[in-house]
Amino acid sequence: MIRLYHVTKRYGEVDALHDVSVHVEKGAFVYVTGPSGAGKSTMLKMLYGAVRPTEGKLLVGGVDVSAIPRRNMYKLRRNIGVVFQDFKLIARRNVAENVGLALEVLGTPREEIRRRVNAVLGVVGLKGRGHEYPPTLSGGEQQRVAVARAIINDPSILLADEPTGNLDGAMAIEVMEILQAINLRGTTVMVATHDAALMQRFPYRVLRFRGGRLVRA
């Protein structure tokens, strides 16, 4: 599903990623871990096309991401769900509107959006909360809204960048259980985290980075 061949990302003189080669199978659950500045976020950003490799080749679902022109990047992103540490929810839109945004920009009919939003809010345990606004929700609930938005159009890959970084233990576990459930439905899940306890509780394959180099795959 995801293949990196000798990928390097350089910012000036500094290599955020250096000569990384890795293969992630379809339907896998993978952690990307390492200390701050190790290259975890850069790796994920490359996968959804926010950052381009300086050298090497990056294939997502068989498509060379570095060859996609910027204006056509939307095609890749419609097949990838992304969850962020800071949730990136729109405060002035209610939960249903936040979640339905990914379908709205595709021109999906409103009735269909409503139906799928309700269904996906059920998956993340927020059924009936669509009318509420993000600032009134807890951190865990906001992250569940972000996960719902990321999976509403059934992406084949779900990327989560420190999804539990702003949550306490119980809420972090809730979110991880949801990600696990999504993975069990066949979605490839890649989670960037430095939470060792969480990785112990939900043991999956680990890609460990240090100083931009992949030290364990």
Partner: protein, 299 residues
């Protein structure tokens, strides 16, 4: 683009207009103010041109005969001048007519004129030129063509016409420069105001990009907003122009008794339509530049 996407764009645009009411009102106001200034400049320029045209049309040339030229030759000369396509009117004024004309206006000169005799004022031809022959160059050329041994002196106010036309050309240039500067300032101000709207919504736009919105889907609502701002701004500018014309110019004209070129005219319907269209273009351009700038930086 599907119907669903079109509906999404329309909903986004109308919602954003409402949610960013203050910023949109500011952008609309800036467009209206800029177009009003441009409109006033155009109106002034148009009225100045009309004034010049009317004065050009009234270009008269006086050609004075030597006293010893027989009247028959004078009439021949009059008829010859009348044949010239540049001439719209020619009138022969005899010595007696000239004296009567002067006495009508200054009766106290009667004694002086009697002493000087009937030849005190020369006979002349008063020639009116066609509007297209009223430019300083054309008038001078006509005066040269008119030269004849029977004519003692040809008066066409050359120096005054040249100075006046130079002055008007300068005024027109100033109006054009001023209008262009105002328009550029308006573009700059509107772009910055729309930038604020985009900045205010950057979180939403970033998320839209991340969930797979195309650049067109993101840009289109802003273009619609810009179009609406431009059209409303243009409409407000027309109201402003009408108000300025009715409440200021006409009253001023009446108060000062300014009727040099008839009533000061408002802009034509076509010019007013052009002004509204300029507003629409301004709104669209500003919105497009602001969003393009955001999209070039977005991940």
């Amino acid at each position: 683009m599907s119907g669903g996407v079109l509906m999404h764009i329309l909903r986004r645009a109308s919602r954003s207009l409402w949610e960013n009411l203050y910023l949109n009102a500011v952008a609309t106001g800036v467009i209206a103010a800029a177009l009003l200034l441009v409109g006033v400049t155009l109106t002034v320029q148009q009225n100045l041109s009309a004034l010049v045209d009317s004065w050009d049309r009234d270009v008269h040339i006086s050609a004075y005969f030597h006293h010893d030229v027989p009247e028959a030759r004078r009439f021949d000369k009059r008829d010859q001048v009348a044949q010239d396509p540049r001439v719209v009117g020619v009138r022969y004024i005899s010595e007696a007519d000239a004296q009567d004309w002067l006495l009508e206006r200054t009766a106290r000169l009667e004694g002086v004129l009697e002493e000087l005799g009937p030849a005190a004022l020369p006979a002349s031809l008063e020639i009116t030129l066609a509007a297209e022959a009223g430019t300083p160059g054309e008038v001078a050329r006509f005066a040269t063509d008119l030269e004849d041994p029977d004519l003692e002196f040809i008066d066409f106010g050359q120096e005054w016409v040249e100075h006046f036309n130079a002055f008007l050309s300068l005024l027109e240039l100033l109006a054009a420069v001023l209008g262009s500067l105002i328009f550029l300032a308006a573009v700059f101000l509107v772009i910055n105001t729309v930038n604020l709207v985009v900045f205010n919504r950057r979180d939403e736009l970033e998320v839209q990009k991340l969930v797979g919105a195309t650049n067109a889907t993101i840009t289109a609502p802003f273009l619609l907003e810009g179009l609406a701002q431009g059209l409303v701004g243009g409409g407000l500018a027309l109201v402003g122009l009408w108000t300025v014309h009715r409440l200021v110019v006409v009253r001023l004209q009446i108060a000062l008794g300014l009727h040099m070129a008839g009533d000061l005219a408002a802009l034509s319907a076509l010019s007013l339509l052009g002004l509204v269209m300029a507003g629409a273009v301004l709104g669209l351009l500003a919105a497009w530049l602001a969003v393009a700038r955001f999209l070039s930086r977005a991940p």
